[in-house]
Amino acid sequence: MPIFKLLINGESRTVDVEPDMPLLWVLRDELQLTGTKFGCGVASCGACTVLLNDTATRACVTPVQIAAGQAITTIEGLSATGDHPIQQAWEEINVPQCGYCQSGQMMTLAGLLKANKKPSTAEIRLAMDGVLCRCGTYHRIQQAVQKAIENYNK
């Protein structure tokens, strides 16, 4: 199998996997970065969202050979101590219930804010509508998004 060099959360990692293996499974099962979640495998729920060169990307449909050479950021790299403005906002609003989708929620917003520090309501709705939460924390996510944008622009 081919060897791929990946730059994940600022660290260089090497994996020996099939080139079409989705980044999701490489992160979770080869590198034990389980903060990125499997939700559907067909980009329909957003649970696996990571940043590829600062762009929010669904890891479940991104083959590792595409991700190689790009800067990959996962929830573990957003801030290990939980003090990223988005994590702080999520903490302040007490967003999570089961928590399973929340890394995808936060990484989606992180991608949006990388592109635009002050996104419009329409841009927020477009981005966040693609990430599903079965516990129904959307009401708090809506508040936390506003809080995170405030924190981010401080």
């Binding site: 199998m1 996997v17 099939e18 079409d20 293996m21 989705p22 499974w25 979770r28 099962d29 080869e30 034990q32 970065l33 389980t34 903060g35 990125t36 979640k37 499997f38 939700g39 559907c40 495998g41 067909v42 329909s44 729920c45 649970a47 996962t74 929830i75 573990e76 957003l78 801030s79 290990a80 101590t81 939980g82 994590q87 999520w90 903490e91 007490n94 999570p96 219930q97 089961c98 928590g99 399973y100 989708c101 929340q102 890394s103 936060m106 709705r125 966040m128 509508d129 990430v131 599903l132 939460c133 079965r134 516990c135 129904g136 924390t137 959307y138 009401h139 708090r140 996510i141 809506q142």
Partner: protein, 740 residues
Amino acid sequence: MKKVPISRRRFIQLGAFTGSGFMLGVYPTDWVQAAQDLPEDCPYFQPNAYIRIEKNGSIIIFVAKQESGQGVNTSLPMIVAEEMEVDFQQVHTEVAPFGSLPAGAHDTGGSQSVPGTYDDLRKAGAVARTMLINAAAQKWQVDPHLCKAEKGAVVHALTGNRLTYGALACDAALMPVPTEVTLKNVKDFTIIGKEQRKRNQKDILTGKVKYGIDLQIPGMAYAVVARCPVRGGSISSVDDSEAKAVPGVLKIVQFEGTGKPMHVHAGVAVIARNVWAAMKARRMLKIVWNEGPNNHESSKDLFQRFEQKSKETPKQIVHTLGDVAQIKAPAKRSFSAQYAAPFLAHATMEPVNFIAKANAEQCEIWGGLQLPDWAVGEIANSCKLKKENIKVNLALMGGAFGRRLQFDFAIEAVKIAQQFDQAVKVIWDRTDDLRFDNYRPANFHRLQANWDEKGQVQSWQHHVLTTPVAFSTDGPEAKEPAEMLGGASKDFWYGIPNIQTGYTPIEFNLQCGWLRGVEPVVNVFPIECFVDELAQKLKKDPLQFRLSLLEGRPAFSAKFNDNWSQPVDPGRLATVLKLAAEKIGWDAPRPKNHFMGIAGHLFFCNSYAAHAIEIEKLGKKHFRLVRIVVAIDCGVVINPDGLRSQMEGGTVFGLGQALRNEITVENSQVVEDSFYAYQLARYNDVPPIEVYTVPSEAAPGGAGEVGVATVAPALCNALAAAGMRPRRLPLQKAGYTWET
């Protein structure tokens, strides 16, 4: 302060389980907790399975109910800590290992975690506190009544002497277990009723938290399964030559299906070094299935059968009051309507998965199980193991909503692992998860009411038709399949002199199971829409009409059978309806084209809730969700933030059912295969939600499910006020569109 007896020395009998056993049938009727044997060197004081105080002062509270997002990892230890008199921030919490408590203690369902264990957990905390006080009093040679516990220490009132719980641990361990303990007054609570962050919130937000799907067992392989698409089918032939050639594939194994209670589908499992290899190889399998005789049913035909059968006499009469037959009324004083709702899938965000390591004699399993004792018994039966040779490791669940009350996936994983020499993690992809669920039954309702010349409703008839869970779990011979009658049966809350509820179960070859909100969700939609329709017919305000059928009615006990009675207080229901109405501004002037709907109900966990929803009509079958208000009376509130969270989440869960969720069946196979087809509530579906709580000192009720049932009827009632009257869910299917 009230004194409560604790029976037996060295054994703490913590009373009868107060929850109802009707739904799951496996709740224990009582449980007795053996005190831990005292270790020689006394590393810690453990008066019962819930509490450990170490010599170094660490206080650990063990949580028996399992966390799946509902917040029991926070609310339950709060109850223990309250009576222990410790600072909640200083307490560590841990999952109580399976086997550390009697059978049934880990069962998590029916919104029973708080109401079912509140008294026991208080007693457990009070026992620890009492033994620590007695230890300090003995040490100081003083009267224990002059000592009090505060913030993890015992203080002597006269001298001010103070010893921490850690310092007292080994002395407390030598104290006799008290025969009775004193519980705190509700008004003296310092932890219960104060907001607490979810205990694992930080780990969730940093990606450190481990759900079942994240666990790694040394040497573990991964498996995905091709399952017979029809329940009850079998494997005719398998050609796995191409699949075997996929790099990374380790072994391909077959297993037979099982019957009741869980109906594991026959399947072929690809075991591989990684999930991706297993998924690729599964596509290469060439399998011929024998689908069996029941392979041509469809949900479309089912609803036609429902409709037809609804006109016939119900198979069972489950509730009778007065005599509906004698109430005759002309057509102008009579009304009938039909309502329907589809099969639903759980669709937890963490897809079903399970880990097992097993051989012919023993096994170890890892994963989320809401009813682990029942699961272990059935795994033993299905896999020819002895129960005592099954080691269970319970895992955090990324949502459950009843999916893990079922345990088909656990039996399946053990069957696979028995054919492999290492641990196997079975991963279900989303298509597997949606197509092999245990579905909330499809249901249909025919209601009819008559009223007299003064506009007083004289009779109410409700015919419920569904595909019962009991037919799946117990077989078609199930004696009492009327499980879908919560709300429509003896617990019906409206005061009408003549009532009859009938029930007709229909056989359908699809595995059905319990979904968050269970039977009240099924029945409250038709009941709360129909009562609203009656108000419209009688030209009465829908809120006032409901109150006229509730207020002044005394509380009563609905006795379903010898083991299950449900207290019903129409007054508490009236209170939540009024609170929701007040907060949404029911009587206030409204902007043009704005309309409101309301609905209330009692959930069988002793909680009452009402939703009031405001919409703006934007066109034919097109509306905007403006605002949702929910009012809740669940007695004593343990964690106010947790309660709000559950009510918001329940509201969104109910909104998804009202707007989008639907499972359809063709050829006895589920059609939906991803979230593109089985649509959930989304970010942009959710308007502002406000939660209001009725202050109460009543015994606490549950909060996990009571927020779901009244969303769909409140929304449909708002649409009716705007001139639309949907009677079938989801609205999307009926051509409705919406915005927020």
